[in-house]
């Protein structure tokens, strides 16, 4: 049983993750939510946009578990269907932000001092930019199309990722193994892809897992302002904003989507924190 003695850092991290019951609970919660959103809308007897005008704004009941909205649409189906959009935006926008941020950070960190300084000044400038204006201008330029929203969000969320990656590269680039590679004749791109990229994956995964809830919050903000997902399509942001508007009369319309949204954010945050503890080399003990 030699493999039980020598474990890779990833295996150690996985074992550390699994040791904390709170993390396991968060992973199960997230899996359930994702599963429900994936299949829920398909197995529900109602369509997300089916109106039943005889059942306008009814409280939760046996046939409509989370009630209906003022157009008689089944709220549970809409929440599960909207969850798909919210989660998709969260994952895709984070992917866009991660790709831009990692590429930018790797190049800045590994390039000459002057290029690095110029690239990071640009990041400083963008940091001082009111990001909500940035997103809004992007949405205004490209129109309110669904797939452009996560590009717009991804385009503003890469800044911190770039800083994290660059810091990591600066710490790594003068270590012996990189000097050895350089002495053996490895070029800029070879070092970047073969030596830097694998070594920054830990912080990248940690930061990406913490970016997803932030991105979902941003999507909800945009939808709340009427700049995100357009009706009749619904995301959790759209449903929460509809619920907030009619909360005093139909409280279930706010409670339902809010609980799903917050539970997802909670699970993602807990997993992100646990990943940070597990993958941070400072905290790895045998």
């Amino acid at each position: 049983m030699s493999h039980s003695i020598a474990r890779s850092p990833w295996q150690k991290a996985w074992l550390l993750l699994m040791r904390n019951p709170l993390t396991v609970a968060a992973i199960i919660l997230l899996a359930l939510l994702v599963f429900a959103c994936c299949i829920g809308a398909a197995i529900s007897p109602y369509g997300p946009n089916d109106q039943n005008l005889e059942l306008r704004a009814t409280a939760p009941s046996m046939s409509h578990w989370l009630g209906t909205d003022p157009l008689g649409r089944d709220l549970a189906t809409r929440i599960l269907h909207g969850g798909r959009i919210s989660m998709l935006v969260g994952i895709l926008a984070t992917a866009v932000a991660s790709v831009i941020g990692v590429a930018y950070g790797l190049i800045a960190g590994l390039a000459s001092k002057r290029t690095d300084a110029a690239m990071m000044r640009l990041v400083d400038v963008l940091y001082a930019f009111p990001f909500i204006t940035f997103v809004i201008i992007l949405v205004v330029i490209f129109g309110r199309e669904f797939w452009l929203i996560f590009v717009a969000i991804g385009a503003v969320e890469w800044l911190t990722m770039a800083r994290v990656v660059r810091g990591q590269v600066l710490a790594l680039k003068n270590l012996e193994f990189v000097q050895a590679a350089r002495a053996a004749g490895a070029g800029f791109w070879h070092i970047l892809f073969k030596h830097m990229l694998p070594n920054v994956m830990g912080p990248v995964i940690i930061y990406a897992s913490l970016t997803i809830p932030g991105v979902m919050m941003l999507e909800a903000t945009l939808s709340f302002l009427g700049l995100g997902i357009q009706p009749p399509d619904a995301s959790w942001g759209v449903l929460i904003s509809e619920g907030a508007a009619s909360m005093a009369v139909y409280p279930w319309m706010l409670i339902g989507p809010s609980v799903f949204f917050s539970a997802t954010l909670l699970a993602l945050n807990l997993i992100g924190d646990a990943l940070r503890d597990a993958l941070d080399p400072k905290s790895i003990q045998d």
Binding site: V125, A128, I137
Partner: protein, 306 residues
Amino acid sequence: MLRFLLSRVLQGFAVILGVLCITFGLLKLAPGSPLQSERNIPENIREQRMAMSGLDKPLAVQLWRYIVSFATFDFPVSAKTPGRGVNEIIAQGFPVSAQVGIAALMIALALGIPMGALAALRPNTLEDRVSTVVATLGICTPSMVLGPILALVFGLKLRWFNASGWYDADDWVLPALTLGIIYSAYIARLTRGGLRETLAQEFIRTARAKGASDAAIVFRHAFKLACLPVLNFLGPTAAGLMTGSIITETVFQLPGLGQHFVGAAVNRDYDLAMATAVFYALLIVGFNLLVDFLQALLNPRIGFKA
């Protein structure tokens, strides 16, 4: 120290100039113009209005005029509310946003720091767990959920405050609570992290060995270092809060600055959009300068290096 300040101020101006140029470029990329929503204006009047607002000039000239007008405090007039300079519009919204923002910041610090400190001092106890769970819950509660709930409970049901609007002297309370509670969660987490790391250091052990009490250790020795991550977070956060959270200003219908960040871009009010972006950048740069200065003051290892 003078060199430190001078170089930071110069960098700040460069950042503001960068923000100005990027905003200008983005606005010019966007289709439409400030005159687009007005129906059927005759061609000659349209040209006159374009000439009046300088929109017929080459792009470089337009950009240069913005730079000059902001640098000389000779602000352009908003295209959508004729007769009012963009500085007047900002001067009207800013006090509202700033009042709510400062109150929210105070609430966040007053709740967050004790909560985080308690958790850090008693690691892995019930207090620590409760504080961590409360902080995580706070981070997962969007202001668009907490705001309407507070408005419902304290505004519509208990009638302690107005549920929305900006009429009475205490109308800042509910929006400030909404933001303060949410940000206190972030501050509690950062305080706990910073304090735990500091408490593990050698000089704290020395202080303990010399018999210093818990309170003396936290306040006299650890706090200066432990609050650095909080300080880092506070710079951009303070600037963001002062310029108004768009969500809370929408929920509570406040006449603050937040509305202009959306409205100016949607209405293609170029001058107002430029002004809000530059104003925001100015605040960010200002607060970051303050944070850098305080950090150098609190942590001798950073110091005033230019």
